[in-house]
Point group: C2
Chain length 749, copies 2
């Protein structure tokens, strides 16, 4: 093994040397001489670019006036030294670009002086005093942030490289850049050599500074990783993620490109982390494209980076907010700086897709480089076309064999949308949740059925320094925190990441086209003795003002179980069609573990007539869920917040349908957004559901036949084949004296 | 009495006859022949008016295509027949205006045909079958809505008066208008003859149709009311309000103008109800100005209607939302249709104030009449100036002697504002809350310290048909639901409107100018044996990014009491500087009555060192409250939602400082909005308060001296005179070895 790596290393060293001769112009990392020349020539003619340039000048001029602040590192995220160093790297990168574009030396002086200050500080730094990370940094509490710093600062250094004297360059390279790059790589193999977004930042940081310094050793280290045997097996990071899963044979940037994405560009940690990781992927790729074009990095793996950018843009709701699956903070959207860079680079390098311009228009910002310039020019030329997010089923896993994420979306008019996200993916590493076959639902106002996201207040020092809170494990990752089935009050895979990493559910069927869209997936491992199968159908029909969703969740087991199916409806409960008793003077918890200890049991009811309606209100809209239930099913209203000694959790409501002592259970619900309320006119429009009755006509292992009707008496029948995913198979079944016949997995009529 | 009224009646009859001759043109109610002529002449040259005209045409054309729907009345608010009849009166009024402006007869035909349908239906109608109101209507469940209908429909009738044949006119007048007007007045004196917004609608409805029909009897009845002795004494309406308070000598529209407003235009029920009532006030006044100019109605009582419009616009937060004091639903704003009419008419009749144009610009709508036209023209001519809401102390009561509402507002930059509303008003009739000396606080993002508003979901049928819920009495009106002091878990005036109507607190001092603004008021009747005095100081200081608020609440009694001072902070608690124990597995209620039965007691703590900090997060901003406490004070976190069997209440949090077994108590807090969070950059700016320590240096009946400091060590001293409201008195007091000297009620240095 060692020998092979050495040979590989030799070959690369040779290639690197050959290429270095043509790569020694500066800037050459993100900016290029020719790109800068074109930007300078066209200044004043591309409004958005000119505007951003002016804003950036103002911002950086204010920072220059403030003086250079390089404090001795001390604080966690949210604290002063952390936030100041973070601000420094954003500022220095912009200042470098400003110098190139405006040729005003004050910006170069600022960058140079700050680099010299860091070069003075860095050799004096021990490990960051917090010592709380599996890979503690020097400038920040974790290597990850140090790598962020270096990715940005490399760009700044590249911009002022020729401005600085040889002596100054030698100083910053010897005292700052090379030792920091070594620290992030050889000094922290457990950080540098993973297939993980942390390592992507590490690889990009080391590689980008290597390119600027023309340091082949660092560039190769970035591309191909450290020797693997340095890693210890089975070590885990702060989030519980495996540092080196069995079977990982490669490390470094190319291995990240191979291992981080599925073949269609899905990122196993989910869009919130992809948004974070895409930045070093693209920045380093762009740097490599400029400096090592023979690598063909932008074409690598059938243009995997292009696919990744689109997968990021498609995993958003109507308003561009990312689905907060796995450990994600809500509120993050395609307005994030990383996505601005991603949109700009994808537009520039991948065929000038006019749809990307409309996203850029919403972002209202472009990067101060040639990619950003091309976007601003495209907008100025009126080339933008509306961004059309589409229904799509993403495969998970490097080979696309580990389940995935399915998205269905449709609308009944240009101003609305119903968008379903169903998750049947792999565990998603340390940030994964135990939420197999879970879903979340969005409309044009935002969340209808929420995913809780992470129990974390990112960069809010008051809440555990902005880190993941203990409730992230005890609550946010647990199955009951999601819209999915929980058997015997136990989370999927028993809430154990080591089990979860071995398995994944499988897509059974996907159809993302037409007025009846279908997603169906199965899990046979979430519970060792219970099989789960969920089918979700998104329907657009002229009889409904908005699209509706049909949810069919089947469970079967050899033994009797308790089955809980929660929905985390967002909003205020208005009305039910069944009686319930709400606790008046004392509240108790719903359970004792796997997240149940965090739920207050507010109310319990039963529906005598086989249908349970709930009707709620949120963001000026009325919603209903109409469910098939049995008279003995417990209909529970719960609220989050128990066993939460420091107010770390939100007080969100949920509705749980509980079936007890059953081997088999089939849950069927129709979710209908139906009405609107105007706070100023105080008028309600269609406050009640159209759907009136839902029933199961037939249900077994092979087939499920449902019926639902609206108030006008119109009736729909949904026929499903549960085992045969062929679109051409003919199905026929007699139910009483009726014959149901259809072709393919489903028919709605 | 009877004789006087008869003589008055005779004189008016005489005047009316004289005037009738010049008032028989149609339209003459809101539109006039000359006004319409000018609008027609200028069509196409005033963009906003043209735009609204086009929108209105589209809207009404769609209604015409739908056909005329006049169902037999059956439903409560939110139900079909209610909403349809409501829609009809909006539509018919617009159709009438369209006919006048466009001269397209299809609109006249539509109005005529609808009127004829109503004329056919009306004689068949018994009282509305719901029978739930103190004044049940015929078309709607209450006379109030029937009056709404007639105010709008009168305008429509006026517009098509000349288009309809004499025979048709006789038919609708005989079978519909006159009997409906009689029903609303003579048929329901308890509705028609009050000093109350219901009666204003009743008066306007009867008067406006009277003017169109040239029916002097109706016009006089509207102006001067029915004979008073028809009313029963001490009768109360559905909200518990007195129908005829002792001392009411007059009724009718002029009496409303005299009795509904304080001399400076404050409306005792609060802005939410003023917004509702202003519409008939202005519509009838405009109709009278057009048809009975000799009444000088727009100048009446020193232009009371102009003052009312401004008081409405000033009782709004940064974003134009009305303060939800008393029984108010939140979300109502100056975009309401009634305020559009108010702004248009005030602009047209009261001197073309350019500030009103900027409100109209935000509204984006103008009325389709000459007032709306003048506003649209003003906007087109670029005359708008920014609306500057100002600090002001409104007096309550017809004579201005019944306390009032004080508003302080300031900002540290054009994009922020801190706005305090302090309530020391009279009871506010049936919609009043027991919240003497309460406050609410707003910034540019909305509520910082909320007023709960009403426990009502207006027009949302699911919640008790949209009516006031029982929790409105048991919760929303109670003192603990507000940011004010509660003694011995008992609401002000013992929660009894009959006591509340007898008393009011009094303003002690107001200064709404400069960097230190002050409001101070006292109550000696909220509790029979305890005197309350609250002083609130709004400070703008370069040491703070945002304005800060200082709250000093003093209570003293002859006997030992429990004093609870709640703050209904909006948002999520992040951190405290004191230890608290939050209930983990069982929640109990905080008390048993006066609203306490609705509160879950979540956590209790104590602050050992004399200062209690709480820090919370809302709408992307960080806030803190720093309070002086004693070590034995209980610091309680409570949450709304107990004893709420139908989920009628929101689950809002509050923080209560409780002092037990004290004769005297002084609560001092500084409230500081300080930081921001960006969901996309995930960066916090100033997440912690600047204010660090607050202490009471001296406190007695005469003087209170406070000190607070920020983290940078800067110290402020606030000196207050508690008994002498003179601005020129000299004060001096020794505290220990320090001498404090100042002039006037306060000094901050």
């Amino acid at each position: 093994m060692k020998k092979i790596i050495q040979i590989q290393f030799f070959i690369l060293l040779f290639l690197g040397t050959t290429l270095s001769l043509c790569a020694q112009d500066h800037p050459s990392l993100i900016l290029t001489k020719s790109g800068v020349a074109q930007i300078r020539a066209d200044l004043g003619s591309v409004p958005l670019f000119d505007e951003i340039l002016e804003e950036t000048k103002k911002e950086i001029d204010a920072e220059i006036a403030l003086g250079i602040l390089v404090p001795v590192p001390k604080d966690m995220a949210g604290g002063y030294t952390h936030e100041r160093h973070k601000r420094n790297f954003f500022v220095i990168q912009k200042a470098g670009n400003l110098y190139q574009i405006t040729e005003d030396e004050k910006y170069a002086i600022y960058v140079r002086d700050m680099l010299l200050e860091y070069a003075e500080l860095f050799p004096t730094l021990p490990l960051h005093p917090t010592n709380r990370s599996y890979a503690t940094g020097k400038i920040f509490w974790q290597c990850l942030n140090d790598a962020n710093w270096l990715v940005y600062t490399s760009q700044a250094y590249d911009c002022v490289y020729n401005f600085m004297s040889k002596k100054e360059r030698e100083l910053v390279e010897k005292d700052l850049f090379r030792p920091l790059a070594d620290f992030l790589s050889e000094g922290n193999p457990q950080f540098f050599n993973r297939i993980h977004n942390h390592s992507t930042w590490g690889n990009a940081a080391v590689g980008m500074i290597g390119l600027v310094m023309n340091d082949k050793e660092l560039v190769d280290r970035a591309l191909y990783g450290l020797k693997m045997d340095i890693n210890k097996k089975n070590e885990r990071d702060n989030d519980g993620g495996l540092i080196r899963p069995d079977g990982q044979k490669k490390a470094g940037f190319l291995a990240q490109l191979d291992g981080s994405f599925s073949p269609d560009g899905y990122f196993t940690e989910g869009p919130y982390y992809l948004r974070y990781a895409i930045f070093p992927f693209l920045k380093f790729a762009k740097s490599l494209a400029n400096n090592k074009p023979e690598l063909g990095i932008l074409e690598y793996r059938d243009k995997i980076l292009e696919k990744a950018v689109y997968s990021l843009l498609y995993q958003t709701d109507y308003n561009g907010l990312f689905y907060p699956i796995n450990d994600s903070q809500k509120g993050m959207s395609w307005n994030a700086r990383e996505v601005i860079t991603a949109v700009d680079l994808a537009y520039f390098h991948y065929g000038n897709d006019p749809m990307l311009l409309s996203v850029a228009e919403k972002q209202g910002v472009v990067a101060l480089d040639e990619a950003g310039f091309s976007v601003a020019k495209g907008l100025a030329d009126g080339l933008a076309k509306p961004m059309k997010q589409k229904s799509i089923a993403y495969k998970d896993g490097p080979d696309g064999t580990e389940g995935g994420i399915g998205i269905l979306r449709t609308s009944t008019n240009p101003d609305n949308e119903l968008c379903l996200v169903m998750k049947y993916s792999a565990q998603g590493m340390g940030h994964g949740h135990f939420d197999k076959l879970s879903y979340s639902l969005y409309d044009e106002t935002g969340e209808v059925m929420q995913d809780y996201g992470a129990a974390r207040w990112v960069n809010i020092d008051q809440k555990g320094g902005g880190r993941y809170l203990k409730e992230n494990n005890t609550w946010a990752k647990q199955s009951i925190a999601h819209n999915t089935l929980v058997v015997n009050e136990t989370s999927h895979y028993n809430g154990d990441i080591r089990i979860g990493e071995k398995y994944n559910p499988d897509l059974f069927y996907f159809n993302g086209k037409g007025n009846v869209q279908v997603l169906s997936a199965k899990s046979k491992n979430a519970y060792s003795d219970t099989k789960l199968h969920r089918t979700m159908v998104l329907v657009k029909d002229e009889n409904f003002r908005h699209p509706i969703l049909i949810d069919i969740f089947k469970a079967n087991s050899e033994k009797n179980n308790q089955y809980d199916l929660p929905v985390w409806f967002q909003g205020h409960l208005l009305l039910t069609n069944f009686d319930y008793k709400k606790e008046a003077t004392t509240l108790n918890t719903l359970g004792t573990g796997h997240g149940y200890q965090h739920l207050w049991k507010e109310a319990v009811g039963k529906a005598k007539d086989g249908t349970a309606h709930i009707n709620w209100f949120s963001n000026g809209k009325f919603y209903s869920m109409i469910s098939v239930v049995e008279p003995e099913d417990e209909l529970i209203f719960a609220r989050l917040g128990a066993n939460d000694p420091e107010y770390n959790l939100r007080n969100d409501p949920s509705f749980i349908i509980r079936k007890k002592d059953k081997k088999e259970a089939t849950f069927v619900s129709v979710i209908e957004p139906h009405g609107d309320y105007n706070w100023v006119t105080e008028l309600s429009e269609q406050p009640f559901a159209s759907v009136e009755k839902v029933s199961i006509l037939h249900d077994d292992n092979q087939y499920t036949i449902l019926q639902f009707s609206n108030k006008a008496g119109k009736e729909w029948t949904l026929m499903l084949a549960n085992q045969d995913a062929s679109e051409t198979s003919q199905h026929k079944i007699n139910v009483g004296d009726k014959v149901f016949e259809w072709i393919g997995v489903y028919q709605l009529k």
